[in-house]
């Protein structure tokens, strides 16, 4: 096993005033601007921050590794008394995979497709001669069992593409744990997973870290997730530390405003309103791609005028397919769609210009939803000209009004999308949808790619626009806190079927159908004991 001869008062990992730069746009830019970390044996540090905060770079730096295109420009990284900066590569390799291990975000891409899982999971241990092949594999099978992988004795003989994403993430945790390292870096290990899968993986990781008393750095953007894992949390922003505190203290009494903003979406709670005025209704819709298995199976949904309907479900539930059927991109096989009690033609081509105008769409990735070669003025102006036949002057006047409506000003009119921030991009997409003066807007995961504080701004904007313009939203999302924040009514979908439809208050209060119960209980809460309580209640 690894040597644990260090003196008691020496930290396992000590990073002092670390500075890292990255190369982009022909220049070196600072990514990490002087950060200190102190981690004792057996401690778990949560590293939280939004995109661009530098948390992954810091996590990798704790191994003495920098990604291509990055360089360390100052400070020191000391692991168990050894300085990692400037340490020769072959010495660092002796630490990697044995004393410091790494769990990557996408297990599916991080396993080599050409080798069996168990060989990959034990390679580092055998290379370092910690144990022979036979006992290493036996130990790995034990770990698979501890991590509650199905068929733990044989699953290791499979290849990566033969195993599901959640299982792969657990195999990768087993691989990281197999040499019994002093430190594990978890780099957003559950971000790509559905919530119901995330719970299982989180529980497995939490148990095993505790069991072997391993120190860990847990990197994520989700405070509720890190609260389950970490002893203390460090908040990063723009490569600098915002604050650091014990987990419970941070959740109860955060010092900095910024820290509070990390759960700002949870602070919104729209008062639900009931309405019987149905604007759009899906009746017994069946749909599939290329005539294969049904992606939508007898789906019926009613959308009330001027209200927000949230369609919630995990990947593969058919919620995005429902949106494609409503817009006419994917003609349904059976059933009908009524818009203001008139049946909509199945195909996009069959629908009139006005029918197209009435239903607009906002996408998840604002980056890909706007043509990078068109200016904001062209993007917003096109529907004005196309649907409403405005001339150049009217168009510009209306565009500026719309920009003000979305809380931006007229200076934005000649900007390109690449010159906007993520939140601004999504606002432009909203303006483009509003410009058509539609009755219904479909919002497909519009906030999932954004930071919390930006999400809050977007959600509030959408609610303001609804109040002013009386627009109906169909809000497709996998995020329960977003549903709680803005919906009036909720539809829960699972494997192409509607599990439940009703007012928000009905859906969120028991009794629940089995799947809704599982889904709701799997959403992490801002409570360090939530996971332990949940697991004990489920067993």
């Amino acid at each position: 096993m690894s040597n644990k001869k260090t003196t008691k008062n020496q930290s396992l990992l000590e990073i002092k005033d670390l500075k890292i730069e990255g190369f982009s746009d022909e220049f070196w830019h600072p990514i990490i601007k002087g950060i200190n970390v102190k981690l004792q044996r057996g401690e778990v540090m949560g590293l939280i921050g939004e995109s661009g905060a530098g948390k992954s770079t810091l996590g990798l730096a704790a191994m003495g590794y920098t990604q291509p295109g990055c360089r360390i420009t100052g400070g020191s990284i000391s692991f168990d008394g050894q300085e990692l900066i400037g340490m020769p590569e072959h010495k660092k390799r002796k630490l990697w995979g044995t004393r410091i291990t790494y769990v990557a975000q996408s297990a599916a891409a991080s396993f080599n497709p050409a080798h069996r899982l168990i060989n990959q999971a034990t390679a580092a241990k055998i290379r370092a001669k910690i144990s022979d092949e036979k006992s290493a594999k036996e130990d790995a099978r034990e770990l698979f069992k501890t991590l509650q992988l199905p068929e733990h004795n044989t699953i290791g003989d499979r290849y990566p593409h033969q195993v599901s994403g959640g299982q792969l993430q657990r195999v990768m945790t087993a691989m990281a744990m197999s040499p019994r390292p002093d430190l594990i870096i978890f780099d957003e290990p559950t971000t790509a997973l559905d919530v119901t899968t995330q719970v299982e993986v989180l529980a497995a990781m939490k148990d095993i870290v505790k069991e072997f008393n391993t120190a860990a750095i847990y990197i994520t953007h989700d405070l509720a997730v890190v609260a389950q894992m970490a002893d203390f949390i460090k908040v990063l922003r723009y490569g600098e530390e915002v604050e650091q505190a014990n987990t419970r203290i941070m959740l109860d009494t955060p010092e900095k405003e910024y820290t509070k903003s990390l759960w700002s979406v949870r602070s919104i709670n729209k008062k639900e309103e009931k309405s019987d005025d149905i604007v759009l209704s899906l009746k017994n819709i069946d749909a599939s791609y290329g005539g294969g298995i049904k992606v939508l199976d007898d789906v019926s949904i009613n959308v009330s005028r001027g209200k927000t309907l949230a369609v919630v479900g995990e990947s593969g539930s058919g919620k995005s397919t429902a949106a494609r059927v409503i817009t006419g991109l994917l003609p349904q096989q059976n059933g009908q769609i009524l818009f203001n009690n008139i049946e909509l033609p199945k195909t996009l081509r069959g629908r009139s210009k006005d029918q197209k105008r009435q239903i607009q769409m906002i996408y998840q990735m604002a980056d890909t939803a706007m043509n990078p070669k068109q200016t904001v003025g062209e993007i917003i102006g096109r529907p004005l000209e196309f649907y409403l036949n405005l001339n150049a002057n009217e168009k510009e006047k209306r565009t500026i009004e719309l920009l003000e409506l979305i809380e931006l000003d007229e200076t934005f009119i000649d900007r390109l999308p690449s010159e906007l921030s993520g939140g601004q991009k999504q606002r432009i997409c909203i303006a483009r949808a509003i410009a058509a003066d539609p009755e219904v807007i479909i919002c497909d995961e519009v906030t999932s790619a954004l930071d919390q504080i930006v999400q809050e701004g977007i959600l509030k904007l959408l609610m303001k626009l609804q109040k002013e313009l009386g627009i109906t939203y169909i809000f497709i999302t996998h995020d329960i806190s977003t549903v709680k924040a803005i919906s009036d009514e909720v539809v829960v979908m699972f494997q192409g079927k509607v599990v439940e439809q009703g007012l928000k208050s009905q859906i969120f209060s028991p009794p629940h159908p089995k799947y809704t119960e599982l889904l709701l209980s799997s959403v992490p809460e801002m409570d360090p004991d939530w996971l332990s309580n949940l697991i004990s209640s489920r067993n």
Binding site: L60, M63, Y65, Q67, H90, R93, K94, L95, W96, G97, T98, T101, Y102, A104, S106, A109, S110, F111, N112, P113, A114, H115, A123, A124, R127, A128, R158, Y159, H161, Q162, M175
Partner: protein, 326 residues
Amino acid sequence: MHPVIKTVLGRLAMGVLTLFAVSLIIFSSMELLPGDFGQAILGQAALPETVAAFRRELGLDQPAIVRYWQWVTAVLQGDLGTSFSGRNASGVDRSREVVDLVLPRLRNTLFLASIAALIAVPLSLLLGVTTALYRNTFYDRSVNMATLTTISFPEFFVAYLLILFFASLYPIFPSLANVDSDTLFGERLYRAALPALTLTLVIVAHMMRMTRAAIINLLASPYIQMARLSGASSAEVILKHALPNAWAPIATVIAFNLAYLVVGVVVVEVVFVYPGIGQLMVDAVAMRDIPVVQGCALIFAVTYILLNLLADIIGIITNPRLLHPR
């Protein structure tokens, strides 16, 4: 059925279809000839009866589909038809079988191409892998610069540069690579040295650049970073993690460049007056001797298709996703 076998069979079927389409195209080159070509071949003085007899010999009085069938069955039995040349206006026919013209020259061409391939493939793989590993070093930059320059050179420029230095200024090798069936192996090698060297230089440049790109692409995969972060040494990363996934891209690169060799050989044979199939084809084109052109084109096309097919199949049988289905 195992998915690998299924995919391979599918690819083979595609290959057969492609061969069929290619044979159609090559066959139809005879159809596209202008109406008076008989006169053109036999000369202005040819009697109408001679022209008519010639047309009948070609079977132009029969429907195209019948002639295609006859042509294909003949080709499959190794009969590529009769050359246009050697005929004259008086009706005297001294023309030769295309096969007799092609076969000895095909042997020469294969000899030349194999020598070039034997040197070029290992050399360019070595250069490609090492430059990918030592990216942006002085070594990488100079090799890159040299190969970028080489691929920009026309083959005949490289060939004449070599002649200038190694045949004219310092007469080490002969500038004319005339070999015949009696030439001994050692002598043959000596005479073919400059053409082989020309081909090697051109192919190495292409192949090395493509290998480098393929390896760099592979090394950017997340699983390679993961392997590094688990403490694998550079050698282990390359041999154990990159190589098993590299067969498909490498096979494609090699096949592509061997196919390129097929083309390069034409020019090089003309420069060195090497009696190969490429030179035969160029002469036939100049004389519009269609049966010979057809025969040569068919041989080039079939080689090309088979090489690409082979690369595809190597890619399939080394793909772990197909080897180990769910």
